[in-house]
Symmetry: C2
Subunit: 316 residues, 2 copies
């Protein structure tokens, strides 16, 4: 069953003691550059460095004591794994994260630091599913998927709820779209609280499956995982697609070059560390000026987990 606005509101109360209420920042210089008025919801400053802490915490807190005792499991090469490990450790239960053997050391360490167990699989879908099935069978843990789950989606929606509480009169809210958990939760909230506003997705042109799915009226799996925005390499799920179809009129796509430029601008002008996936909304604004001119936009900066040794613009 798809999550409702009431689910998001309940999630906000439930997770409040466990997550940060992240700041909403503005930048005169980025306003000038974009020709619009921008409010940045800084989920890069969220616990574990991404909005994923919201959905994972909401899902873990809704498990019955009996189910929780057996622990939680997921597959992730990124932020959801760390967020789930953190949420599980706060509840005092075990967590198991299936990660491909080529996952970055930084992401592996994040899971381990939060007390999660990492189970390595081969970097393909078959191995991932097989390994996860085995973990679930051996441990009895509950599978918490990264996005296609009503508790996860409701949790992700709480970021937009906070944003609209602080800046009610927005014309558009833009969120990056990978699997669609953040975008669908955001769109549900914006549609419910401010029907006059729209929610748009921002997506790498190299992984434009959400754009194509909307166009074709069915889920189009992502064809390439080459984008630098490593949080946005997933295809939509059935729930997230249904919600995006209903509430999201537009997905803007951007080039790799524009993602890197936007990321760097956020670091330079706003003095915050944003990962490539988190820079998508600003990249969309800067490369589609005709869509945003003179409007009031909320941009969700989804995360800040970057390998500081390998920055895309550093050449010397």
């Amino acid at each position: 069953m798809l999550p409702t606005m009431a689910d998001v509101q309940a999630a906000a109360v439930r997770i409040q003691p466990w997550i940060h209420r992240t700041p909403v920042m503005t930048s005169i210089s980025l306003d000038a550059l974009s020709g619009a008025q921008l409010w940045f919801k800084c989920e890069n400053l969220q616990k574990a460095g991404a909005f994923k802490a919201r959905g994972a915490t909401n899902a873990v807190l809704q498990l019955s004591p009996e189910a929780a005792a057996r622990g939680v499991a997921t597959h992730s090469s990124g932020n959801h794994g760390a967020a789930l490990a953190l949420a599980a450790s706060r509840r005092g239960i075990p967590s198991y994260v299936v990660m491909p053997e080529n996952a970055s050391e930084v992401k592996r360490r994040a899971v381990l630091n939060y007390g999660g167990k990492v189970i390595t699989c081969a970097p393909n879908l078959a191995s991932r599913e097989e390994t996860l099935a085995q973990v679930l069978q051996e441990t009895g843990a509950v599978f918490i998927p990264p996005y296609n789950h009503p508790h996860v989606i409701a949790g992700q929606g709480t970021a937009a709820l906070e944003l609209l509480e602080e800046v009610p009169e927005l014309d558009v809210v833009i969120a990056p779209v990978g699997g669609g958990g953040l975008l669908s939760g955001t769109a549900l909230v914006v549609h419910s609280l401010r029907p006059a506003a729209q929610t748009w997705g921002a997506e790498p042109a190299l992984a434009n499956d959400a754009f194509l799915s909307l166009q074709n009226g069915r889920i189009m799996p992502v064809q390439s995982t080459q984008t630098i925005a490593d949080g946005l390499r997933s295809s939509l799920g059935e729930m997230t697609f249904a919600m995006i179809q209903q509430y999201v009129p537009k997905v803007l796509t951007v080039s790799e070059e524009d993602i890197i430029r936007a990321m760097r601008l956020l670091w330079e002008r706003m003095k915050i560390v944003v990962e490539p996936s988190g820079a998508l909304p600003l990249a969309a604004v800067l490369t589609h000026p005709e869509e945003v001119k003179g409007r009031r936009l909320g941009l969700i900066l989804s995360g800040g987990n970057v390998d500081l040794d390998h920055l895309p613009w550093v050449t010397k």
Copy 2:
């Protein structure tokens, strides 16, 4: 005349419409690493990227209309020049910043972006003073020095005022020390509002003139400008030294390696961009654990202006 606490309080009211009230952030992981409780006052998120906006704005706003009309001038190779240009542009008056010809392009552009005029001098004291004198004579502008001025010091103290309003029960507040404007203003505020707390300076071992000045009871000029902390290469002024002698019992020094490590930790764990000078307080905490264990510390992250093309830890 030295500034008083009343001057700081008046400054806070005067500059409030023109500056950011910057957030105070915390980090569980840096608390664990330090063995102390840390509150970070994020002046890297201040307008123009540094606390300098406070003092420059306070000084510019106190000029009489007649004096202001002729403009303001200063010498600076860094953040004070940009802050003064910004403050002047807000008041609609001209600003002149004398910069050495080897100043970084990033810093030059910052002054120009805020509408300041840049006057280039040779990179030595004699040329700087001569060039500034000429500018003052030709324009009639008012000289606003980077730190040794009561209005500037009172303005810088407003950061600590905000910090103590939010976190009153601190044991120690640590600020970086270059010319001493931030440290002396901070110490005045902490001494006045929370006499039980101490204010400490944090200084590069390579530019330990404040440490030596306190030890010797007189201003010892800085001997080397080799530290990566480019905001901390100045010697103390008479006013800032008098106040530091009175209110600051301790200056902790740190190595270049420790500055870079602390800077990187701030980026990685807190997802914020902090310049080398701004990382000094955390570097001091991490390298002097015996001084801080179990205590409640306020750390002033003074600025976030970094050349993103040249990061000290990036080697590939």
